[in-house]
């Protein structure tokens, strides 16, 4: 009798294991906690001016899907000095999330790099520093050279510590790209 009971409970446990389904596949939720950079905004402010020139890359649905909706050409005056600030946004969410703040909070793991080709088109000097005295690049000074056309590469390097040891050393080397965009650049 006792054994019969044991068997029954075993069978019951077995059935439960076989037939439980807690969550249904069709209950699919939009992923709100997924972090994405969809938008890069470059703001060039001429000394003495208060209205910045604004150039944007925007791909609100992230990689793939619809093609990027905005990829502005940067047009600047020759031989001029600008204050350059950069903003990173996640516009896949409403309201849009400002990733710039988070880059700032983790400044010791991030580095923004501006590279002009040809190099004579634009030179960049960092205007900010992280806790370890390495540049960040969220704000700085961009000085244009003689008139010409080319590219401005904007990179956000994510320089996560390796085995808990910080790797950021002020150079582009460590880490990997979170942003890597070649804006068209025209200096007149």
């Amino acid at each position: 009798m006792n054994r019969k009971k044991q068997w029954m409970s075993l069978v019951m446990i077995g059935l439960t294991l076989f037939l439980t389904q807690c969550k249904k596949a069709e209950d699919v939720e939009p992923e709100e906690e997924n972090e994405l950079i969809t938008t890069v905004v470059l703001k060039f402010t001429e000394s003495g001016s208060t209205t910045p020139l604004q150039f944007t890359f925007r791909d609100t649905d992230g990689d793939g899907g619809n093609a990027p909706t905005t990829f502005d050409k940067i047009a600047l005056k020759a031989n001029t000095s600008y204050t350059l600030t950069v903003e990173f946004l996640d516009e896949s969410k409403t309201p849009a999330e400002d990733i710039t703040e988070e880059v700032e909070e983790e400044a010791d793991e991030h580095l923004v790099i501006f590279t002009a080709t040809p190099a004579s088109l634009l030179t960049y000097v960092y205007g900010d520093k992280d806790a370890n005295n390495f540049p960040i690049g969220l704000t700085g000074t961009a000085t244009t050279g003689a008139a010409g056309t080319g590219k401005l590469k904007v990179q956000l390097r994510h320089q996560t510590p390796v085995n808990g040891v910080p790797v950021k050393n002020g150079t582009p080397g460590p880490g990997s790209d979170d942003v890597n965009l070649d804006f068209d650049l025209e200096v007149n």
């Binding site: 791909d59 790209d177 890597n180």
Partner: protein, 794 residues
Amino acid sequence: MHKAYICNIVAKYRNSFILFKQGILILLGLLNLLPGLAQSVEKDCHCFVKGVVKDEHTGLPVVGATVLLIGKNTGTFTDAEGRYQFAGLCPGVYDVECRIVGYQSSRHRIDLTEGHEEDFSLAETEIHLNDIDITTQRTDAPSTQPLSILSGSALAQTRGQSLGESLKSITGLTTLQTGASIAKPVIHGMHSNRILIMNNGIRQEGQQWGSEHAPEIDPFIATRLAVVKGAAGVRYGSDAIGGVILVEPKELPIDKPISGEVNTVYFSNGRQGVASATLQGGIKGLEGFGWRAQATGKRGGNIRTPNYFLDNTGISEQNFSLAAGYRKGGFGIEAFYSHFTTQIGIFSGAHIGSVTDLLAVLENGEPLIKSDFSYSINRPFQDVEHDLLKVETHYHFPDGNRIQWVVARQLNQRAEYDLHRPRNDSLAALNRPELNFKLNTLTNDLIWDHKPLARKFAGQLGLSTLYQYNLMSGRPLIPNFDQWNIGLFAIERLVQNGWELEAGFRYDYRFLSTYRIVSREKVTNIFRFHNASGTIGAGRNLSDAWSVRFNMGSAWRAPNVSELFSDGVHHGAAAFEEGNENLQPEKALNSVLSAQYEHSRLRVEVGAYYNYIRDYIYLKPQPEPILTIRGAFPYFKYTQTNATFAGLDVNAELNLTKELAWTSKFSYLRVTDVRNDSYLVMIPANRWDNALKYQWKEAGQWSNLYASVTNRWVAEQRRVPPASDFAPPPAAYSLWAVQAGGKWEVSPKNQLELTITVDNLFDTVYRDYLNRFRYFSDEIGRMISLRAQWSFGG
């Protein structure tokens, strides 16, 4: 007291001590049956072999099995009690082969050599007929298709390695790797969803589509790894296009004394330790019971290439399995549960954000991230769990029919952690995986083996169902889905006049319903796939030495969710991959011709295959790259073509002297994209293995004492589509390995098997085309492995 002329029967496959006694006993039986014969001294042909063929699983006699005496080219069938008998045999060496549909054919060597006169004094109770009983293991593998088996010492020499690595010694098998710690088996150039793994009779269901998703199986649960090469869709259902891997534990030790095995392995590279133990037995006082418990632990650190360590390549694994069964009469029931957990570090130097990052590593020639040895596993890493619960029950009807029902539930949980945590502190604090998959599978198999008809036809009918659902969270990669499958099959086999003919048919239907979010809206897609597969084969033993088999089989697979819905950058490959909802199932038609020659000193096995795959799904490069926020990525779309996989596997073994043997394994594969008159990417290069093994015949308490040297040569893969890759396929390489080992019989019930191996003896720097991390680093350097296996009891 008898004076006897002995046909001393020694079968190679068992403990010689027992067999000697057995031989004598058989002889004594013979004496009882044929009085007077024993006194004859001349070399006459009056030896005989008889026995019972039993199912290893149920212990019941197998009726209607063909038992062939290879040396004599004669055969017989087992009767209603499973008995067979060969009489009138001359002394000599014979191979007895036993075959029946649904069972793996088994061959036993019997040595009926001329004996000498001896006096025997045996107690009355010992004088009973002890036959050559054959226990045969059920297998679903088609008998006319090449089946490669890894068991015993060959398996022991791979202990501690992953399933993929363990199978590499089989001709025609390679691995698809992601770094040194993730290896997926490749059969004849096919992997992932194109091969099927049967884990203890259950089709393994994980996220197989991912090239970095290794099978979630602990090879220590198996005492036999078998590989069916080529399409085997009829018996196994969808996905068995390239072949099937059978991971098979030993039968439960019903009513047997407690026995066990302890394995310990140390790998110098990665300073990895592996330990596994098995304990099993029957239960005293409870007739018909058997049980087994097994557990494995594994821990390793950073792997070293000849010149540098690979950061974050540690591994940690904990597995266990429990099994229990009961048999009475024709009835049997068995339950099996296994749990697999692994944490695998992914080489951090392989993380790239953009093509620029990849080109920088390629230009550098070695990883940009340097490391020392460490056991710690950091981001990026995978955390994978797999649970399998299986219940099998069967009943043998007294008339020879048999019915079997297997139900199994699997839960595969895979969490993948990216290198970067979320920047948002509160999210980062949760430390959640960026990719999280939960795949739940319920399978049912109902199989009816009909009793042999006219002692010639044997066959089985089967019904298989599968229900599966997938839950995905984190970064959207594949959709959630529900999937139902039903398959019906029938296989018949005829054994007559030295021929073995086989034919089978199957029909499968699959219903797939996917759920995903597109632009904040839920989108449901419904897919219905169905397919008919067939198999036909013939085998014949042409002479004592020659046997030939031919099989033509088909298989299919429905496009998987990643092929249907991929839409994003594959970071390991720096490629943008886009799925295609209109993909049709792939269909394969595979022909295999295999021949075996076995003569005193030489054994050669040749298998030639031609696998034509219609609507082969692959990633086709698009002319324009795709622009993302991390720059432009090469753009690939899932497309279909027709492809052929043609190749040759050659296995040769030559005994140069009694002690020295040479083994050679060669595999050639040529894959063509027929529609585009081109090649396909990621096809393993041709390879040739050669080994010299010296085995000591007598070495005191040691048996199987040997030393060997092996060379593996792998060609450069020259057949690649033009401009398909960031780097050309790596150069050819040649690796040397040495090994020594032996079995020490401490006592009849205690055996210790020790092996030492040095792989990549000369610390050769090389890269392999089928390692997805070949852009980033060299392959693993020299490695010394120490293995100890202690078996006791039984």
